[in-house]
Structures are given as structure tokens and as C-alpha cells.
């Protein structure tokens, strides 16, 4: 079992890497371009059929096993591989007439390798290697369009990604030192020191779009091409989540400080997302903000797990379900933007509309959808919280759901396929992968192991009402907003720009003129030609004067009277010394 399984593991990570390297060889390039989606297939097969507990060790790399598939890994691998497969497939069509497809696919495949690597990592170095690779490669994706907005977004994304990586590495080192081993499984025996906890929280918080560290997300995701933003929002954002799950000692120790930070940050992110998201005009930015709020909700789940270690096993399944649901739904929505813009015929428009509506509803947590399932999972465990928090959460979570519904309405309003759209892009290759993803969103969540037990409670009437009233309330708010829209035509997004805090930071840096806007001026250097050897006097003026003084003094020494006098003085000096010593 072991060598077949380890082969599968190696293939899952190796396939995209091998294809990325093949891209460099000009002869193989066109073959790879066509086969990009296949790169994710081994990972998907592994996720679906792979034996749990299989591990692969690369002897020349390190003695102990490097890759391993465990329960959590399987779930993450599942939705991640689906997303990468669909995006790859979608990208083939989307980038048909792009200027630099090879460069995009190179970064796409490298990011995929990194993602799978970190999910399957068994030891800290491999995890960090995957994390780093994914971070940098995804930056390439953000930069891909190359216009000013993409460059700005890319730079911020890169800066934050690097900061995150560095914090994580330092935190991991603390863990490894405390734990005495680099195997993730055995890491938690030692107690996690305060600085390590802080570092890991902040590091993964950046990736997962934690409250104050999220401002790169609304800039980066929209700037990237659609398939890239789908993967960014869907799969890569979850890496932060996976990091927390793997490295924070959830379920082993009560972490009051960490728990409360997660709870408050999560709730803050949820409401901030709604507030700013609604004001946006670009649909992808709206989706980005919705990701922030969704991740906020997941963070609350983690917070509960940190506060009540005994609640963690249950919470874990709820979090996993929620993560899968959000990944697939968000992916579907992002991919839907393309076909929605390009829908010509009425039939296409209806299909696009339905395609968008279903994931939106799921996301909003409409009953009988994966969203509802995920939300009930979360709500069911609120009981574990100390009473004050339980009460607050009971109210705030539905409100958050309402906020999400509001954002979904806004998104649908912006992307609803209107008649008479004349877009040049023929979304020929986009429909199929998108629809496949929509179907996966609807069906996928139910396949998860723990999901089915939750189903029976779902059907009771009060549960249905619980899921429904936030939806209605959100819809009412949306209608109110649309109505107000007619009087108040100002563009809200100017006063609430995308990337809110990021803009503030940029202005601050500009004032300190640390952050030089990208200058493209080309200075013509004077080359290393023969600049005339103008002989500036080698000495600075002060030294020159000292030279003058010395020469005159020397000349005076040269005169006979002075020399004669000095001579006799010298003889006298020696005489005196001899006499004094002798007597």
C-alpha cells in the first residue's frame, strides 16, 4: 500500500511541477498549454480515493516522510483540486487570445504545486516550501494583466504575502524548537509560546484576510484574470485556515487570548465586508469583500474551538463543511462573471442568471443549500461559548448572513445578463467548466462525511425559518437600497475605495516618500567610457592649506641660522641629559 500511495502523493504534487518545468522547453510548450487542467486530476483522484494515512518520503530530500494525507488534508485537497481543475479548464478558454499565456500558465502551475504541497505537507519545511511557492507564484498571476491597477495590486499583494511568509516561518521555527521535531503531527506536545502564537495568528491571518490584514484581497482578486481570482478566493485563501488548523493547538489547550481575537476579528471582518462590499461597483470586488466576511465567519468557528477545546472536534467538521461550501460557491460566482458578461442569446442569459443565482443563494445560506448546512453546523455549536458570547453570536450570525444576502443581491444586480450586451469576448470555452462547478457547489458539500448526520435536523420547520428570515431581511434591505438608488446617485465607492486601509497606508508611505511610484524613466548612464581624467587636485582645500603651511615651515628649517641653533641645542640637550644621569 505504501509505495502505491506514496507514488500517488508524489504524483499529486509532482504533476503540476513537472508541467511547469516543461513549459520552459519551447518545443513542449503547446502540449502543456492544452494539458493544464489535467495537472489537477491526480490530486482530485487522490482526494477522492486516496487511503488516509499514506505518506511519502523522498530519501534524497530528507529521512522522515515529507507528504502525508490525513482527514483534514483530504477535505482541503478535495475542494482545492476541484477548483484548480475547473479554473485550469476555464483558463484555457479565457486566455485564448491573451498576450503571454505561457507566463500565466507557468505561474498558475507553480501556484497549484505550492497549494497541493502545503495541503499534503507532513513536515514543516515542506509546508512552508509549498506556502512560499504558492505565495510568490500567485503574485505572478496578479501581475499578469500588466496595467497600472494590476501592478499596484500586485505590489501590495506581494508585500503582504512576503510579510506573511516571514512571520509564519519565524513562528514555525518557534514551534519546531519547542516541539523538537519538524513533523507536523507530533508538533503539539510542547506548549506553544506566546510569540509563536502571535506570529502564526498574524502570518496566516494575512493569507486568510484577517481583519486589519485583509486590504490586499479586494485589490488583488479583482485585478487577477478571472480563473486566477477564482482560485485565489476559493482555494488559496483557505491555506491560511489550514495553517491555523494544523499549527494552533486547537482542541488541546484553551487559548483564551487567541480565541477572543479570532472571534472579534471574524465578526469585525464579516460586517466590514458587508459595509464596504455593498458600495463597490466592480462585481469582482464585491465578491472579494464577500470572501472577507465569509472567512470572518469561519474565524469565529475557530475562535469557539480555541475557547472550548472540547468543542473543537465538532467545530472542526463544521468549519470544514463551511470552507468547502464557500470555496466552491465563491469559485462558481467568480467564474460566472465571464459567461454572464458574454451571454448573447436569451437562452444563454437565462442559463447564466440561474447559474449565478444558485451559488448566490447557497452562499447566502438559503434553506436546503450547502450554505444552510454550513451555517447550522456553526450555529449548533454556539452553545459551547460562555453565555455572554453565545447570546451575541446568536444574534450577530444571522445578521452576517443578512449582510451576505445584501452583497449577493448587489453582485447579481451588477452582473445580471441584460439584453443587448455586446461584448466581443465569446465565452465559448467558459460555460462548461462553470456549470460543472455550479453543479459541484450544489452537490459537493453533501458528499462530505459528516454532512449527512446534520441533515435530519434540517427538515424541522423552525430550522427552516431560522435559515429563511435573514434571507428575507437581506432581500428587503436590497430592495430598499435599490429604491434609494434613484435619488442618491453619488458613487459610494469613492468615499469607501476598494482596499480601504491599503489606500490609507499608501498615502502615509507616499508622504514619507518612501514608496516611490514606479518610475519608468530610463537614465542614459554615462557608460564606462573614457571620461576625461580631469585631475581634480587629489587633496581637499583644507589639506592643500596644510600642505602650504608644511612647505613654508620646512623651508624655514632649511635656513642656516635655524639649523645651526637647533644643532647646538641638540648637543646641549644630550649634554644635559648625560650630566643629569651621570651625577
Amino acid at each position: 500500500m505504501s509505495d502505491l500511495a506514496s507514488l500517488q502523493l508524489q504524483l499529486a504534487v509532482g504533476a503540476p511541477l513537472a508541467m511547469a518545468l516543461l513549459l520552459a522547453v519551447r518545443a513542449w510548450r503547446h502540449v502543456v498549454l492544452r494539458g493544464v487542467p489535467l495537472a489537477a486530476v491526480p490530486a482530485l483522484l487522490l482526494a477522492l480515493a486516496g487511503p488516509v494515512g499514506a505518506n511519502a518520503a523522498l530519501p534524497w530530500l530528507a529521512e522522515h516522510p515529507v507528504l502525508e494525507l490525513d482527514a483534514i488534508g483530504r477535505v482541503f485537497l478535495g475542494f482545492t483540486s476541484v477548483l484548480w481543475l475547473v479554473s485550469g479548464w476555464y483558463a484555457r478558454g479565457y486566455l485564448a487570445n491573451d498576450a503571454h499565456p505561457a507566463r500565466f500558465y507557468l505561474f498558475f502551475l507553480l501556484a497549484m504545486t505550492g497549494n497541493f504541497g502545503l495541503v499534503l505537507a507532513a513536515d514543516v519545511p515542506t509546508f512552508y516550501a509549498g506556502f512560499g511557492l504558492m505565495g510568490l507564484a500567485s503574485a505572478g498571476l496578479v501581475f499578469h494583466r500588466g496595467d497600472a491597477e494590476a501592478t499596484r495590486a500586485g505590489r501590495i499583494y506581494l508585500a503582504l504575502a512576503m510579510l506573511g511568509e516571514v512571520l509564519i516561518l519565524t513562528g514555525l521555527v518557534f514551534l519546531v524548537v519547542a516541539g523538537g521535531t519538524t513533523q507536523i503531527a507530533e508538533l503539539h506536545h510542547g506548549v506553544v509560546s506566546r510569540p509563536a502564537l502571535l506570529l502564526l495568528l498574524a502570518g496566516f491571518g494575512i493569507k486568510a484576510g484577517g481583519l486589519t490584514l485583509h486590504f490586499w484581497l479586494p485589490l488583488a482578486h479583482p485585478a487577477a484574470p478571472v480563473p486566477a481570482s477564482a482560485v485565489l478566493s476559493g482555494a488559496m485563501i483557505k491555506a491560511g485556515l489550514l495553517g491555523w488548523i494544523r499549527f494552533l493547538p486547537l482542541g488541546e489547550a484553551t487559548l483564551p487570548g487567541c480565541g477572543f481575537t479570532l472571534l472579534s476579528a471574524g465578526l469585525g471582518a464579516a460586517f466590514l465586508g458587508t459595509l464596504v462590499g455593498v458600495a463597490q461597483t466592480n462585481p469582482k470586488t464585491v465578491l472579494a469583500y464577500s470572501s472577507i466576511s465569509q472567512m470572518g465567519i469561519i474565524m469565529t468557528g475557530l475562535g469557539i474551538g480555541a475557547l472550548r477545546p472540547e468543542a473543537w472536534p465538532v467545530m472542526q467538521t463544521a468549519v470544514l463543511i463551511y470552507a468547502t461550501h464557500h470555496a466552491l460557491a465563491k469559485g462558481a460566482l467568480f467564474l460566472g462573471v465571464g459567461p454572464a458578461h458574454a451571454a448573447h442569446t436569451r437562452r444563454q442569459r437565462i442559463l447564466a442568471g440561474v447559474g449565478l443565482l444558485l451559488p448566490a443563494l447557497a452562499l447566502a445560506g438559503a434553506p436546503f443549500t450547502s450554505g444552510a448546512l454550513a451555517k447550522t453546523g456553526l450555529k449548533a455549536n454556539i452553545g459551547f461559548l460562555p453565555e455572554g458570547w453565545a447570546m451575541a453570536l446568536a444574534i450577530l450570525l444571522p445578521l452576517a448572513a443578512a449582510g451576505t444576502t445584501l452583497k449577493m443581491a448587489r453582485f447579481l444586480w451588477l452582473t445580471w445578463p441584460r439584453s443587448g450586451q455586446t461584448t466581443v469576448a465569446t465565452a465559448r470555452g467558459l460555460w462548461l467548466p462553470w456549470l460543472f462547478l455550479v453543479a459541484a457547489t450544489l452537490a459537493g458539500v453533501w458528499l462530505l462525511p459528516g454532512a449527512l448526520e446534520v441533515l435530519p435536523q434540517k427538515l424541522s420547520p423552525e430550522k427552516v425559518w431560522d435559515a429563511l428570515w435573514p434571507l428575507l431581511f437581506g432581500g428587503a434591505l436590497a430592495a430598499l437600497g435599490a429604491w434609494l438608488r434613484r435619488w442618491f446617485s453619488g458613487d459610494l465607492s469613492r468615499c469607501l475605495p476598494a482596499g480601504d486601509m491599503g489606500v490609507l497606508i499608501e498615502r502615509l508611505l507616499a508622504r514619507l516618500h518612501l514608496h516611490r511610484p514606479v518610475k519608468d524613466t530610463v537614465h542614459h548612464n554615462h557608460g564606462h567610457g573614457l571620461s576625461p581624467a580631469h585631475e581634480a587636485s587629489p587633496w581637499s582645500p583644507r589639506l592643500e592649506r596644510a600642505g602650504e603651511f608644511l612647505t613654508t615651515l620646512e623651508a624655514r628649517l632649511r635656513s642656516w641660522p635655524v639649523t645651526g641653533a637647533l644643532w647646538l641645542l641638540l648637543v646641549g640637550l644630550f649634554l644635559v641629559l648625560l650630566a643629569r644621569a651621570g651625577s
Binding site: L133, F143, M162, L167, V173, V176, N525, S531
Partner: protein
């Protein structure tokens, strides 16, 4: 004169003799000169390989010659020196190849390659020196042999750079001379020994030893470009690319770092140094350098100046490694000695290629250079990512061990410093990569040299690619039995005992 002594002398004289012969070659005899260069480098490589294998088998290599009553010129090959000599020999081979290609039609090449070989002789001398006085002798020889290289072009600013370089290094040399004289007065003629030679003196001469350590660090710090003393490094960037790569990756700066390693491990012994309370200030100095170097690098528009400041900070990683008690940090420091060498030399080869082929010297001119010279830029990218510490490249390995060592030794702030500096590394390397790959190239390059089939002269291309491969090999195969990391673990084991 056993075979072992002959190997040592062979290593030293293979470059020295070729250097002398080249000095007197006429300018036009290109072929002979190139042949001689390559022969010298090749011979040295073979001998070093033999040495490496010998030391691995535990054979003892030593040679000594008493040139003054009570003063010995002694060469020896312990684990530390083999590490440095292997690094410098391998990189020298490729730098020579590169230099031959780079200086294709410039004047004074006999003089250049003469001093070039002298410089490497001095470096190998430093590596192989077994006692303090020999170290000092080769240390000064290095200063003298690198000066003509720095001012090779003869332009006024080259001369100014040279003058500044000399002022720093000569003053440093004088301070070192004072320290060596004083130390040998205290401890008699001093041979480098595994755990230092000052146990006896610890009790009586505490104050004096501390002052001496300060003098040593001051003297050697000039070459190791520790912050207050680093002024010459960016100024020495006026030298031609092979020289700056030699200076930065292999010879001068490494000699400085190796000097500090020698002082801390083989003269004082790291436990004694800790007992004397010498390591924290050294660690602080190194950290200040790391941060300062990186911050300055971010704002340099000239590519070579940026690389120079990055060297200032990278070398202090090694010093930081030595300044933290514990085998892990030592491993981190020493392995970075090798990794920084191969990474930095690749960067400089790249910079040299850009300057030579496209005539660009500034980062702002590097738009779309990846498209015009994909292979060089690929090598440059690998090295840059390595410097940032992206796994699985070489830089990551050394930073990993440094951080682990720092944390085990209990000074967390060092880990934060390393984190901060990796960030800053990214801050000044990633924009370059971004420009190279993502921005469109300008219509015409400032001074383009078409080199036929390949993107640039084949020699100029081969060198960076090989060193880039080395970077990847040192990183990926770090854990394997035959890699710089493995050798460094051997050193750490010997230093810290069973």
C-alpha cells in the same frame, strides 16, 4: 615535505605561479593567457578535491616554515578552512571563465589576470592559514592584490573608490596588526585550535581579552563590511563585474566573515567568547548591519550598488551565526558562508551580463530584460529568490538554521531581525524580478552587443547558469550526505564536541 604538505602548497602556488607568469605575458597573447588561467584554476580545483576527500577521511594536512625567530608561516587544513577553500576555488574557476569572456577586448588584461590570481592566492592563503600571523600576512596580501582590480578601469571615480577602499582596508589592517601583535604577546605564537587557545588566560586577562576581541573585530570587520566599517563596499562597485563578483561573493568580504569565524571559533572558542560576554555585542552589530544593509539596498537605483548593500547585510548573517551560541546557529552561519557566495556570484554575473550585453547599469533600465536575456534572468531570479529565503533554495536552508539556532539559544529578537531582513530582501529583489519579467522591454537598449546565437557571450552565460544550479543543488539537496550543509554539520560537531 609529506604529500599532504605538498598538496597544501600546490593549492596555494597553482594560482600564484600562473599569476606571476601572466603578469609578464604580452597583452596580445590571449589564447596563452586564457589557457594559463584555466589551467591554474583547474589544477587548483583538482587539488582541493583531493584535500576535501583527505580531510573527510580524517588525514592531517599541515606545513610550517619559520621565517622569523619564534614566528612560523603555517598552513593547515581543518574542516573550517576546507569549506572556505572549496567555495573560493569552485567560484574562482567560474569567475575566471566569466572574466575571460567579460574582458574580451579591454586593455591591461595581463595586469588584470595577474592580480586576479594573486587575489585568489591570498584568499586560499587566508583559508588555509593555521596560525594568526599567516592569516594576517595573507589578509594584507589580499588588500594589496584587490586594489589594482578595483581601480582597473582608471576612471576618476574608480580611483576614488580605490582610494576609499584602501583607506578602510589599510586602517583595518593596521588595527589587526596591533591586535595580532598584542595577542601573540599574551598567548605566544598562536595556532588555530578547535575550541580556542585562551583557556589559560581566561582567569587572569579578562579585560585584555575583551579589548583584544574588539580590536580583532574592528580590524576584520572592515573586510566583513560590518556597518560602521562598510563604507568602502558600495564605492568599490566601480570595478568591472568579475571583480565585484570576486570581491563580494568569494574573496574580500568572505575573507572578513571567515576571519571572524576563525577568531570566534578557533582563537577564542565560542564557549570562552560567551563566558567573556563577547557574543551579544557582536550579534547586535551583525543585526544592525543586516537591517541597515537591506534598508539601504531598497533605495539604490544602481543595480551593483543595490547588490553591494545586499552583500553588506548578507555577510552579517554569517557573523550573526557565529555570534549565537549553539550548534544550530553555527551551522546556519557557516552554511550561509557558502550559500551567500554562490547566490551573490550568480547575481553579479547576471549584473555583469546586463552591463556587458545591453549596457544597462540601473534597476530602472531593466524593464523586460527577462525577455531579451531569458537564461541570464532565470539564473538571476533563482539567486534572488534564494537570497530572499524562498524554499527550497539555498538561502532558505541557512536562514532556517539561523532562526532555529537563535531561538534555541533563547534570543528571540534575532529571529525577528532575520524575519525583517528577509522582508527587506524581498523589498529590493522582487521589484527587479518584476521589472525583468513583467514589464515590456524598451525599443532600443543603451549599448547592445549582439553575440550571435546565444543571448550573450557563451562564457558570460555559462557561469551564472552553473552557479544558479549550485544554488538549487545546495538548497534542495541540503539534507543529502554530500552538500555544504553536511560538511558544515561536521564542523559544528567538531566545534561543539560529541
Amino acid at each position: 615535505m609529506s604529500i599532504h604538505a605538498l598538496t597544501l602548497l600546490g593549492i596555494l602556488f597553482s594560482s600564484f605561479l600562473t599569476g606571476l607568469v601572466i603578469f609578464f605575458l604580452k597583452e596580445e597573447s590571449h589564447r596563452l593567457r586564457t589557457w594559463l588561467n584555466m589551467l591554474g584554476a583547474g589544477l587548483k580545483l583538482v587539488l582541493v578535491a583531493a584535500l576535501l576527500w583527505g580531510v573527510h577521511e580524517g588525514k592531517d594536512y599541515s606545513w610550517s616554515f619559520e621565517f622569523l625567530p619564534g614566528l612560523q608561516l603555517a598552513l593547515g587544513a581543518d574542516a573550517n578552512s576546507v569549506l572556505f577553500v572549496t567555495l573560493s576555488t569552485v567560484l574562482w574557476f567560474w569567475t575566471t571563465l566569466y572574466a575571460v569572456g567579460y574582458l574580451e577586448d579591454s586593455p591591461h588584461r595581463s595586469r588584470f589576470f595577474g592580480f586576479f590570481s594573486l587575489c585568489v592566492t591570498a584568499t586560499t592563503g587566508i583559508a588555509l592559514s593555521a596560525n594568526l600571523i599567516t592569516f594576517l600576512i595573507f589578509y594584507e596580501l589580499l588588500t594589496v592584490s584587490t586594489y589594482p582590480l578595483v581601480v582597473h578601469r582608471g576612471t576618476p571615480d574608480a580611483l576614488r573608490g580605490g582610494r576609499i577602499y584602501l583607506t578602510y582596508t589599510l586602517i583595518g589592517g593596521t588595527v589587526l596588526l596591533l591586535a595580532v601583535a598584542w595577542f601573540s604577546r599574551l598567548a605566544g605564537p598562536v595556532a588555530f585550535k578547535e575550541r580556542g587557545v585562551i583557556e589559560a588566560l581566561m582567569a587572569t586577562h579578562r579585560g585584555e581579552l575583551q579589548l583584544l576581541f574588539f580590536l580583532f573585530v574592528l580590524g576584520i570587520g572592515v573586510k566583513a563590511a560590518i556597518v560602521p566599517l562598510h563604507g568602502w563596499l558600495p564605492k568599490a562597485m566601480v570595478a568591472p563585474a568579475p571583480v565585484s563578483s570576486l570581491l563580494h561573493a568569494v574573496a574580500v568580504v568572505k575573507a572578513g566573515a571567515f576571519g571572524i569565524v576563525r577568531i570566534v571559533y578557533d582563537l577564542y572558542g565560542v564557549e570562552n567568547a560567551a563566558k567573556l560576554g563577547l557574543l551579544p555585542p557582536l550579534a547586535v552589530a551583525a543585526s544592525v548591519t543586516i537591517i541597515y544593509g537591506s534598508v539601504r539596498a531598497v533605495f539604490q537605483d544602481e543595480l551593483k550598488k543595490r547588490l553591494a548593500y545586499s552583500t553588506v547585510s548578507q555577510v552579517s548573517y554569517i557573523v550573526l551565526g557565529t555570534a549565537i551560541l549553539g550548534p544550530l546557529a553555527t551551522i546556519g552561519g557557516l552554511v550561509h558562508l557558502v550559500h551567500q557566495g554562490i547566490m551573490k556570484i550568480t547575481l553579479f554575473f547576471g549584473a555583469g551580463n546586463y552591463a556587458e550585453t545591453l549596457g544597462i547599469h540601473r534597476v530602472s533600465e531593466m524593464n523586460g530584460v527577462g525577455r531579451r536575456m531569458p537564461l541570464t534572468t532565470a539564473a538571476f531570479t533563482v539567486a534572488a529568490l534564494g537570497m530572499i529565503g524562498v524554499p527550497p533554495l539555498a538561502g532558505y536552508v541557512s536562514k532556517w538554521y539561523l532562526k532555529k539556532g537563535a531561538i534555541t539559544a533563547g534570543d528571540e529578537w534575532v529571529a525577528l531581525v532575520l524575519a525583517g531582513s528577509s522582508l527587506l530582501n524581498a523589498a529590493y529583489f522582487l521589484p527587479i524580478l518584476y521589472r525583468a519579467w513583467f514589464l515590456a522591454p524598451p525599443k532600443t537598449w543603451p549599448r547592445e552587443h549582439p553575440f550571435g546565437k546565444w543571448e550573450t557571450h557563451w562564457m558570460l552565460l555559462a557561469a551564472p547558469l552553473v552557479t544558479a544550479a549550485l544554488v538549487v543543488w545546495a538548497g534542495v539537496f541540503a539534507e543529502s550526505s554530500f552538500s555544504p550543509l553536511a560538511w558544515v554539520k561536521l564542523i559544528a560537531a567538531r566545534e561543539y564536541g560529541p
